[in-house]
């Protein structure tokens, strides 16, 4: 299950959704809004998405996980709009028979979300109205769609 939503992500609801009697392990990653960026204080973030493509890429990530690990359930939810410090921006969750694949697949999910899902965030410090666009630091070069 993948989703992009304007309203707050309910982590308990994700945990309910990911549960299954076949699971021996559930790994759930919660990405939250930090109060700083390097040395700069941060008071809020604005997330914007190329929503239809973002959902497509999230579905692809779920398919890749299912082809690589024997998992029972996958949930990837990202929030968009204005988020305050401490708000949940993203949740990835994987239910598997054993913890090893749950951990690995959940880590894979969040790393792929950060690398490939077309979502952008603007950071705002105290009193700032302009904000600053951020870019995730890629883990590996040669991602698709990039110039050679």
């Amino acid at each position: 299950m993948v989703a992009i939503q304007q309203y707050a992500i309910d982590v308990k609801a994700v945990l309910r959704d990911i549960r299954t009697d076949a699971a021996g392990g559930i790994d759930l990653f919660v990405g939250t809004v930090r109060n700083h960026s390097g040395d700069r204080p941060v008071v809020r973030l604005e997330y914007t998405a190329y929503q239809p493509m973002a959902l497509e890429i999230m579905k692809q990530i779920e398919s890749e996980i299912r082809s690589r690990w024997p998992v029972h359930k996958v949930v990837i939810v990202h929030r968009v709009g204005t988020l305050a410090v401490g708000d949940v921006a993203v949740v990835t969750a994987v239910a598997a028979s054993h913890r090893s694949e749950a951990f690995e697949a959940c880590r894979f999910a969040i790393e792929r979300v950060k690398a490939d899902v077309p979502i952008w965030k603007k950071e705002f410090g105290p009193g700032e109205t302009e904000g600053e666009w951020k870019a995730n630091i890629p883990l590996s070069a040669g991602t698709s769609g990039a110039r050679e």
Partner: protein, 84 residues
Amino acid sequence: MPSRIIHIVAFGPVRDIVGISDIALELEEPCTGAVAFEALAARYPDLEPWRESVRLAVNRAYAPFDQTLNAGDEVSFLPPVSGG
């Protein structure tokens, strides 16, 4: 020389530079992602610093810059993402 009209959608910092989220762009042959970027950068010179870092998306999927674009394609030059 034949031409075709593609549909550019813009997001994040690229959206800020072009000022609007949708642009109709008429391109002459050969019509590739790379040619479309040149045409867009000619109209919006502030895109120049983004030349090496944008990724191409065609109809909501990542695509190589030498991919041929067809009339009506939804094309986007995506700045480095920052979700999560």
